[in-house]
Symmetry: C2
């Protein structure tokens, strides 16, 4: 199977991770987070409902993938690893009261002679459950476990050219899916029939490349439910004069480029159009200032000043880094564009910039996925930045 990245690119990722490990005095690292596992090994399978891991050893070129035996075969197809670095545990480890897969991972640690060393663990990341921690210290009583939550995620923030290429492909798919929704939404149409067309577009992709299942399903609350962002769809029929929020992402080889747009069925009132204008102005203000060297909170401040001029006060995050992801999140969970976050933007960071306003009874969301450059930022979508009226 063709791999999405060259061996060289995976080696570079390993180097960056090992560099950080050395700075932290770590001899080994274990990640059970599907996105981080993919980043280091290439592994891509929907098997993370059982414990599985990628382990990095300072002394080894390649990481070790460990998981269920039936998925080790999937690792042989999807990773860049030598067969000796793919380890499958027997099925009697699965959902057992006696055995636990972490014991199997600990065996690899012992084999690599790091069982009395400092081992990095992502204590605050999906899917590192408390029980896994307990099993790990029980199996490796001489090891020192060090929390390295989000360390790999921070490395992931800076994208390679190949990663940017996949995000742009994802963005093309996003545009197709948003367009499918906008074309279908109208008073009298069932929400789920729109969602079906959206999913078809997300998976079909283009004639050249397809889409994968996104880490977050299409979010499309309508009417009074637009007061909350994380609802999907129902059997409800759209009525006239309704607001429909669309937040969704194409996914290309696990890379995302989310986008939000809002649809209005009927003729939007002037008061609503004024609010729409303010939010779009706020988005443009942020896109105008984003560039390497800026801080996250400075970007948010730009937005806040625009809405303050319109007499609105609202402090919340308006952007987060995005890229490689598995359910339940396409966000990288590292930094936020919000007051207090002084992270400095660097070239090839990618953000989902998502301003939104809720002013009873109206709400409006609109976003762009952007790549930070030295001079400014590059947007990936080719859709107009406007309210879609249907």
């Amino acid at each position: 199977m063709e791999k999405p990245f060259t061996r060289n690119e995976y080696m570079k990722r390993m180097e960056r991770v090992k560099q950080r490990m050395m700075e932290k005095g770590l001899d080994a690292l274990i990640t059970m987070n599907p996105a981080n596992m993919n980043y280091l090994s290439g592994y891509d399978g929907h098997s993370f409902y059982v414990p599985q891991a990628v382990m990095v050893f300072l002394s080894e070129d390649e990481p070790v993938w460990a998981g269920r035996a039936m998925d080790a075969s999937g690792a042989r197809f999807t990773t860049w690893l030598k067969d000796e670095n793919i380890r499958g545990y027997d099925d009697d480890y699965v959902q057992s009261d006696v055995k636990h897969p972490v014991q199997f991972f600990a065996d690899v640690m012992r084999e690599k002679r790091v069982d009395q060393k400092r081992i990095g663990v992502e204590m605050n990341q999906d899917f590192f459950l408390h029980r896994s921690y307990v099993e790990l210290i029980r199996a490796l009583p001489q090891a020192s476990l060090v929390d390295v939550s989000y360390m790999i995620n921070r490395i992931r923030m800076i994208k390679s050219e190949q990663e940017i290429t996949y995000m742009k492909q994802a963005a093309q798919i996003t545009d197709l899916a948003i367009t499918a929704a906008v074309n279908k939404i109208a008073a009298g149409v069932r929400e789920s029939d729109v969602a079906a067309d959206v999913y078809h577009a997300l998976v079909r992709g283009t004639g050249e490349f397809c889409g994968d299942y996104p880490a977050i399903p299409p979010l499309m609350p309508s009417e009074d439910k637009t007061s909350t962002p994380h609802l999907s769809w129902s059997d409800r029929i759209y009525q006239n004069n309704e607001i429909v929020h669309l937040e969704l992402s194409g996914c290309r080889l696990r890379y995302h480029a989310p986008l939000a747009r809002t649809v209005f069925t009927g003729k939007p009132p002037q008061r609503y159009m004024d609010m729409v204008k303010t939010v779009i102005e706020g988005l443009h203000a942020m896109l105008d200032v984003i560039r390497a060297g800026m801080t996250c909170e400075e970007v948010e401040q730009t937005w806040r000043e625009v809405i303050r001029k319109a007499g609105i006060e609202k402090e919340s995050r308006v952007g987060y880094p995005v890229g490689l992801g598995y359910p339940p999140d396409w966000g990288e969970q590292t930094v936020s564009m919000r007051p207090g976050d002084i992270t400095v933007l660097e070239p090839n960071m990618t953000f989902h910039v998502l301003p939104a306003l809720w002013m009873e009874p109206y709400s409006f969301i609109i976003s762009e996925t952007v790549r930070v450059t030295e001079q400014g930022c590059e947007t990936f979508s080719s859709l107009p930045r406007e309210l879609f009226v249907r």
Copy 2:
């Protein structure tokens, strides 16, 4: 918004949970698992990439839902709870180095005066991360935390009539999606174009009711990749004389009814058809014996005897309980139909019975989702149990 279940049904679930809590001497319980949260509160939102919880108190009729403020609004739409039992935390708790949502949950525990009591915690379940455990003992140093992993899942194993209704609706959707795949798969067709039609069918559902996003995406490895179960689709074009595995599920109000079928493009060789016959015979043998009072391992043994007669030895699980689920799993993660599991089947338990054989270079999978009854079992799908030849 109409709720999927009556208040009375939610109250019954609470009673069963409290009964188990009393047996274990617990005063309170906290679950951060989306399926268990839904089971107790009705909450349905794709927001579990941030910590959120449902807490049960022996002294209270209703549980408390706690999550991000923007999702509290979603909880108002989807749960059966009074407004006072829906608690939203501010956005500065999200992905912060300073604040952690578990501190907010602990505040509720203190308010309910269980901060020095015995509190049940699901230490081995998604999404109870190790960091959440650390924050919980830090915030509630006087509490005793007791592991109750899978306790609610075991209660969920026995379905109500209304739950069965939703599973049957899910099964109708599953049949539509499998049929869409079988109709589309042929040499010369791109895998992703089949996947797009499958997703369209999964979400559109019937004219009467729609489908939700399934907890596991359609799994459809083909050709040599049929050696591993958890791959999805790619840009590859199907060739002649290929085996395609389909394992997927419709989802109705978060209830699943998965099904596996196998497609062959071209004319299957006799040796393969012999193997297919054995597996189908094994599935039928299991469906014939499943009834209340049997043990899980007895069901598996029936399968093993059929394949032994065909000269094949293979010990692995051939079934697991299924129902309510969120990514990454539609399985209930409690018991398995495999040697050593002496769980006794009870009426209204529901299982995905999934025998499979891999014999180089051939493989074949076929399954049914079933409801255990006093006299036997009821299957939900109306698709024929056969190899689909295209």
